[in-house]
Symmetry: C2
């Protein structure tokens, strides 16, 4: 099932079901007003959405799907404009190893043993075609291609298997970081706040079942494409080099608290190791700069400039866009 949220002027938006090929959509107002409301009562709501989804995919304007319309990602808000909570985890450890190595340090052992998790803003999200509007290039403006899951209710102390069963949806995100501010905030010990402006999300949220065989071991074994100013800079494999899968991240969060339906848990920036058969490139500029520092003593690639564009997309097993693309332009707010 693929779900989107249309901008209707309300804070939570209008829930819509989107066809598998992302060509048509249908409002779900007879079923649930918003994705948030659907997640609050998923066991009851999801089967009804699924019926609408099947009828929409069949392409016949009948049953629940009587008024399909062309799907336009430009009308989309983030699929879940206000989440119950949001956590960014450290799943692709290569990303964090690069950061430490560039600074002449090793990744702490704890990072390999337990998923490192941090709270992040759970609202103010941007839709897939909204501009990134920021004030200063000097902040070190960096895109960040991330995968995330939306959770149902998870009891405190839930097992990894139980957490797995509560993964409702997957999301694709552009988690922008102001790298110039991040270092100082990390040193402060309270996590990132000013260094994390609004995060953007791809047009649709998808159920794990949409991935077919590519959803395995709690990971999305699919290619992730990052294009910066028209140049492909990342051709990553999201199913590889993930030290903790999504159920493990979710269970780690639940280890000390109950998790509420509508919580977003991301795995952090996707990062692959370079191998003989694969030069993965990067999901965020910082990773490239750390690699350059390790290789040649200094970072060469500069962060984003006003006017830059970024495109982030994941392909399904048939090479079709799974979530629709994030396509954004960086603009100057002042």
């Amino acid at each position: 099932m693929k779900l989107a949220t249309l901008d209707d002027g309300t804070r939570d938006g209008q829930l819509a079901v989107v066809s598998r090929d992302l060509k048509t959509a249908h409002v779900a107002d007879g079923i649930a007003p918003s994705l948030r409301a659907a997640l609050d009562d998923w066991a009851f709501i999801a089967p009804q959405l699924d019926t609408l989804y099947r009828q929409l995919n069949e392409g016949k304007a009948e049953g629940r799907a009587r008024r399909p319309f062309d799907f336009d990602p430009a009308r989309c808000m983030a699929p879940l404009p206000r989440a119950s909570g949001r956590i960014i985890g450290a799943a692709w450890l290569h990303h964090h190893e690069l950061e430490r190595r560039a600074a002449g340090a090793d990744l702490p052992v704890a990072w390999r043993e337990t998923p490192q998790l941090a709270w992040a803003a759970s609202d103010g999200f941007l839709g897939p075609r909204q501009d990134l509007v920021l004030a200063r290039e000097e902040w070190g403006i960096d895109f960040g291609a991330e995968l995330a899951v939306v959770s149902g209710d998870v009891a405190q102390g839930a097992t990894v298997d139980a957490a797995h069963g509560q993964i409702r949806l997957l999301l694709l995100a552009n988690d922008v970081t102001l790298q110039g501010l991040a270092l100082e905030e990390r040193a402060g010990g309270h996590g990132l706040l000013h260094a994390k402006p609004a995060t953007s999300f791809a047009p649709v949220a998808v159920t794990p079942s949409e991935l077919g065989e590519a959803w395995r071991g709690g990971k999305a074994a699919l290619p992730l494409r990052v294009v910066w100013n028209g140049n492909p800079v990342g051709t990553l494999e999201a199913g590889e080099d993930m030290a903790f899968n999504f159920p493990q991240l979710l269970a780690a969060l639940a280890s000390s608290r109950a998790v509420t339906a509508g919580t977003i848990v991301s795995g952090g920036a996707v990062s692959n190791r370079t191998t003989r058969r694969h030069t993965p490139g990067y999901a965020c500029i910082a990773a490239q700069r750390w690699q350059e520092t390790i290789d040649g003593g200094e970072a060469v690639t500069q962060f984003m400039r006003f006017g830059d564009t970024v495109r982030i997309e994941m392909l399904d097993e048939n090479g079709k866009s799974l979530f629709g693309a994030i396509e954004q332009t960086l603009k100057n707010s002042g």
Copy 2:
């Protein structure tokens, strides 16, 4: 105006208006289903709630207030069970100075210049009479008496005055910290997550106007009482020693992002300096332990034990309970 949320089995609960003396209440279902919904549309909803509040205080079962009932804090959820976001700031710097001094360090200069802010969980809150249920005393279970504001929408870059005008409500909280886990998490640099179990809130949220002259300079100049196992351990003045007032905390948050209605911003643990005329005691056990370490080389006071009770209350200018009391017992989850 005083507002509470009654537990009706839904996630956001049932909004109720509570009389100034906390004796009677009236459901607000004809006005807004939940406090969250009221905050989403405050300019339209608040005047209607205020009319109900005035009629309820007059004690006549007429107008909107036709079905008043006895107010029972035990039926309350947190006033805002799910917030749009939650920030804990460092406003009472004496608390943080003690922590540093106990470790032989000074508070970084940045803490005096800019409010330090951290994301925290924005849901899973407890009501004022719910037990604190935790697994291990060894975690260093600590209560924490905090004041917070609930914000309306604040534009990015808003001035302190503009932020001041968007403060909708004040809340009193017991922000529990597992001090034994906090040190390690702070060193990790991502902020506190496992060290912060569920936060509890006093029965009612109050508009700043309820404080009368005691709401001045963006601070609540009122006494805060903390009682641990029946012993008064904190007799604090919340209007004193606050380096950043609530509008400044909110404006600091808005400096890099738009703030959405329903965001909770707390000032962190309240802490006063000891003076010739005032021995304030403490709002959290950690502060007492740091003071003991500074004075005598080691912490003497132990953290909470299963079966302990804590009571947190703020008095208004007439010596009456402003928010109603938080009264909780610590229990062992297993």
